[in-house]
């Protein structure tokens, strides 16, 4: 549908209409195709409010058009002096009370959902053995990447959030440098990553991301955070619980049995990169650079570039060109082409899913 639109050249009413009708956007990032309970609640609120608002617009426009058609001076004559009506109490009352009712209609579910979506009391719940009952993910937003720690599982990853389906996943959000905001449009509304306090909320993922175009949901930073704010994307992989458990196990083992696709690349990595990047998924948040244990499984380089060796090399060489203001140095002068090649191969091999 969108492909067809891309060829669109002529400016015509038809095209405009098509866009409106195309209306729902893309599954992996549209709020209009919610893929989880939170998003659905919000979508319902959207439908309700849009309905009310449409009604308001229609009523206003109707009165407006009738007035405009009936009371034109060209019809009534140049000299017509209308009666200087002062007002009408009945009418005033009508258009005070009806809007109040409409507002109430919207206010009640608003308050209800505000409390419902704000309820994180179950977050710290533990079962009889002292194990956490719910999955909790600590999200740290940094210039310009995302770190995801699973504190109860002892693992950490970056840029790609992996979550199980059909259960509440709780999030602790914080920012490491400046303020960011954590948003997965297709799954639910956003919450800010403030610098000074942890924000908590939950999301529910009800759709398997492997059915999507790129196999992932798109996540966005929704708070201006500097030049590369636009490029601070992340991805979300959702999977059934069993698959998720496998992934967790693989992550927990990733320190010991790493795939080394290119030993020379590993050498380069140990010399130039290891100061900032870890390749084991076991650990805590707080690293200087993103954890690369799952790099080979990822979908994008640096969150937005194509996941190819060429783009990876280009990224390592010219980080500032691609993401102005980010904290990774440029390696164009530090590493030779062959080193870069080996490094890229090594990185592309890092995987826990295979």
């Amino acid at each position: 549908m969108m492909k067809g639109l891309k060829k669109w050249r002529l400016f015509s009413l038809l095209a405009v209409l098509t866009v409106f009708l195309a209306g729902c956007g893309q599954e992996e990032l549209s709020t209009l195709l919610p893929a989880g309970q939170v998003g659905k609640d919000q979508f319902n609120l959207l439908l309700l409010s849009s309905g009310i608002m449409l009604l308001v617009i229609i009523v206003v426009v109707a009165i407006y058009l009738v007035a405009l058609v009936r009371f034109r001076r060209s019809k009534l004559g140049e000299d017509h002096i209308p009666e200087q009506v002062e007002g009408s109490h009945t009418l005033e009352l009508v258009w005070t009370i009806i809007p109040i009712l409409l507002i109430l209609l919207l206010a009640v579910p608003t308050v209800y959902y505000t409390y419902k979506l704000g309820d994180v009391t179950a977050m710290g719940a533990v079962d009889d053995d002292g194990n956490a009952e719910n999955l909790v993910v600590d999200v740290t937003a940094k210039l310009y990447w995302w770190e995801f720690e699973y504190p109860d599982l002892g693992i950490v990853t970056a840029q790609e959030l992996v979550v199980p389906m059909d259960e509440k996943v709780y999030f602790n959000l914080i920012a490491a440098d400046v303020k960011h905001s954590f948003w997965i449009p297709a799954v639910g509304g956003k919450l800010d990553n403030n610098v000074e306090n942890v924000n908590k909320f939950y999301l529910v993922f009800e759709k398997d991301s492997s059915e999507l175009k790129d196999g992932v949901f798109y996540g966005k930073c929704a708070e201006l955070c500097g030049p590369s704010h636009a490029l601070m994307d992340f991805k979300v992989k959702t999977m059934p619980r069993a698959e998720f458990d496998n992934w967790v196990a693989a992550m927990q083992a990733s320190g010991d049995n790493q795939v080394v696709a290119n030993p020379a690349g590993e050498e380069v990595f140990k010399q130039s990169c290891i100061g900032c990047h870890a390749t084991s998924g076991v650990g805590e948040s707080g690293a200087v650079g993103p954890n690369l244990a799952t790099f080979g499984d990822r979908n994008r380089v640096a969150g937005f570039m194509d996941h190819t060796k060429e783009d990876l090399i280009d990224w390592i060489k010219y980080t500032q060109k691609h993401k102005p203001g980010n904290k990774m140095p440029e390696f164009a002068d530090q590493l030779s082409d062959s080193e870069l090649d080996a490094l890229a191969e090594y990185l592309m091999g890092l995987s826990v899913e295979k």
Partner: protein
């Protein structure tokens, strides 16, 4: 001092404008200054839209883009919309209440110069290549982390301009409170005067928090303060609260005068008294009051907790009710009237559906859980341009056409006016309607570019085309203004023929003392009443013609502000240049010196003698 168009040299003319304390001239200065910044902000908008017309565009760099949106937002709100509205308030409001001048002519001029130098200061950042880049909201953590002097330009520039705004607000308030002509009770004031009053009251209460917030920001960035540094116990959320405690009232400060303008236009061109005048007044006051109770609706996603969110959500929605009252009263003013579609009326007609669409999306955002999705997406951009462009800018354009003859003595071309309208109106809807969907489709705002393949391409392209249609509209308007001014065909007192309020009973443009004799007001729409009762002049004098007391012009406001402007640079470069501190001190000293000069001198104004007034009257052919 005399208004008689003597031939004056350029120097004398310039001096006249620099020293003027005449509210009509200051009104024109505001209008020109604001108009200039509107074009600047508009060009910035065009660059923004051009950058976003296709995916992965590299027309501007990431850093420059942030400069552009920050300056676009800041310029449009503080330096374009508000000053232009102040222009109309200055030029028209005193006439509407039958006053000879504003309450504080000197402070009026000071307010203008502070706005102007503040704006100049802000925009000089372009020449230093250190431009504010943290968004017009300058949220702390980003604004405190921002390198260079960009955000300092923002903080100091707005501080200066904001001081001017506060002065203007107090001045309008006192003018309305104390200077109304005999018989002009509060409940007979034209709606534009009322909205000026309420907007000014909101300025009085909304700008001090901004002042404080900007000081905090300045202290943090330049003097080692820790308000927003969480490692030192500070808290960035304080900035957000303070900014929005100011920021939300600010948007009503913008829209209320526009409401006033449309109220005048609807009743004039429907030839009918404003329907439900008392409830219009009440709704205005109520909106003004509620405007202070909803600021946290900009912060639903900050994590204030469900209780705060729920309370502010409901309070936000409540504003729909008084606003609705206004909308329906306008509709009912047209109903049963005799509507003629002049250019101003065309804008007013365009305003109703546009603003309602923007207003209702505001209410949707007020539903907090829904706002978790909408916040900081393009939906928000769509909302506020619908209310601001569809409300405030249409209001400004309407007023420009409506009061042009009163301000400049000549009529803008009606046909060109309509051309402007249609380009602007169509372009406006094209630009911003589609942005609602961009928001739904997951596009965050303030993004410098976007990747291909997210389904946003065509919508952004359409939006950009719309923006250029708007630009064509504005260019036609500029052309219209130039042509009209060159032709300069003089018009009579009431060129629209249906004027209802006092400004239409005196000549266009009014003589510098406005009213030869103070008018007597006998009801709402006093000129209309007089005319209906057969008084062709539309005005009855409240007292015999006698000497008129007038204020003296003064160069001090200009000089005083200049000191602040200079001091601003000194403060900014204090740490890196040796001249910084001395310049800061000298600038402030100069300002204090000027204040001293003002205060030590006895300035009691001068008198226009009765004879001179009578001579003027005779020359005009005997206005009563």
């Amino acid at each position: 001092m005399s208004s008689v168009a003597q031939k004056k040299g350029f120097g004398a003319t310039l001096w006249d404008w620099l020293t003027t304390v005449d509210h009509k001239k200051i009104g024109i200065l505001y209008f020109l200054g604001g108009g200039f910044f509107f074009v600047v902000g508009g060009i910035e908008a065009m660059l923004i839209r051009w950058q976003l017309h296709k995916p992965n565009n590299d027309f501007v760099s990431a850093g420059l883009f942030n400069d552009l949106i920050t300056m676009h937002g800041t310029t449009m709100i503080f330096l374009a919309a508000m000053p232009i509205l102040f222009g109309f308030m200055n030029a028209i409001m005193p006439l509407q209440i039958g006053a000879r001048d504003v309450a504080f002519p000197f402070i009026n001029s000071l307010g203008f110069w502070m706005f102007f130098f503040g704006g100049l200061f802000l925009n000089l950042s372009w020449f230093f290549q250190q431009v504010p880049d943290a968004g017009w909201t300058s949220y702390a953590s980003l604004s405190t982390a921002s390198e260079g002097h960009g955000v300092d330009f923002y903080a100091i520039g707005l501080q200066i301009a904001g001081g001017g705004t506060l002065m203007a607000g107090i001045n309008f308030l006192v003018t309305i409170i104390n200077m109304r002509a005999p018989g002009m009770t509060y409940m007979r004031m034209p709606l534009f005067t009322w909205t000026t009053f309420v907007a000014s009251a909101m300025i009085l209460f909304a700008f001090p928090p901004l002042t404080v917030g900007l000081f905090f920001l300045t202290f943090d960035r330049m003097f080692g303060g820790n308000f927003f540094d969480h490692t030192m116990g500070g808290n960035t959320i304080i900035w957000e609260h303070i900014f929005w405690i100011f920021g939300h009232p600010e948007v009503y400060i913008l829209i209320l005068p526009a409401f006033g303008i449309f109220s005048e236009i609807f009743s004039t061109f429907s030839r009918k008294r404003l329907f439900g005048y008392p409830s219009m007044v009440f709704a205005t006051v109520l909106i003004g009051f509620l405007g202070f109770m909803v600021w946290a609706h900009h912060m639903f996603t900050v994590g204030l907790g469900p209780t705060a969110n729920a309370i502010f959500a409901v309070a936000t929605m409540a504003i729909a009710v008084p606003t609705g009252v206004k909308i329906f009263n306008w509709l009912l003013t047209m109903w049963g009237g005799s509507i003629t579609i002049t250019t101003p009326m065309l804008y007013a007609l365009g305003f109703i559906p546009s603003f309602v669409m923007g207003g209702v999306t505001g209410v949707m955002q007020g539903a907090a859980p829904l706002d978790y999705q909408l916040h900081d997406s393009y939906f928000i951009v769509a909302h506020f341009h619908y209310v601001i462009v569809g409300g405030v800018v249409l209001g400004i354009l309407a007023a420009t056409h409506y009061w042009w003859p009163k301000m400049f003595g000549t009529m803008l071309n009606e046909a060109l006016g309509k051309v402007t309208f249609w380009f602007f109106f169509i372009g406006f809807h094209m630009t911003f309607l589609i942005q609602h969907w961009l928001g739904f489709w997951g596009m965050p705002r303030r993004v410098w570019t976007f990747m291909d393949g997210q389904g946003w391409n065509s919508a952004n392209f359409i939006s950009t085309i719309g923006a250029f249609l708007m630009a064509i509209g504005v260019i036609v308007l500029v052309y219209n203004i130039i042509v009209t001014s060159v032709k300069n065909v003089k018009v009579a007192n009431d060129p629209w023929g249906d004027g209802r309020t006092l400004e239409w009973a005196i000549e266009s443009p009014p003589i510098y003392y406005n009213f030869p004799a103070t008018p007597l007001v006998r009801g709402l729409d006093t000129v209309w009443i007089e005319k209906m009762e057969g008084n062709e002049t539309g005005i009855t004098a409240a007292e015999p013609i006698k000497d008129i007391h007038m204020p003296n012009g003064s160069i001090i406001p200009f000089l005083m502000t200049f000191g602040l402007f200079v001091a601003g640079f000194g403060a900014m470069f204090r740490t890196e240049h040796a001249w910084g501190l001395p310049v800061l001190i000298l600038g402030l000293l100069w300002t204090f010196l000027m204040m001293g000069a003002r205060s030590l001198k006895d300035d009691t104004g001068y008198y226009i003698k009765k004879d001179e007034i009578l001579r003027d009257l005779k020359r005009k052919g005997g206005q009563k």
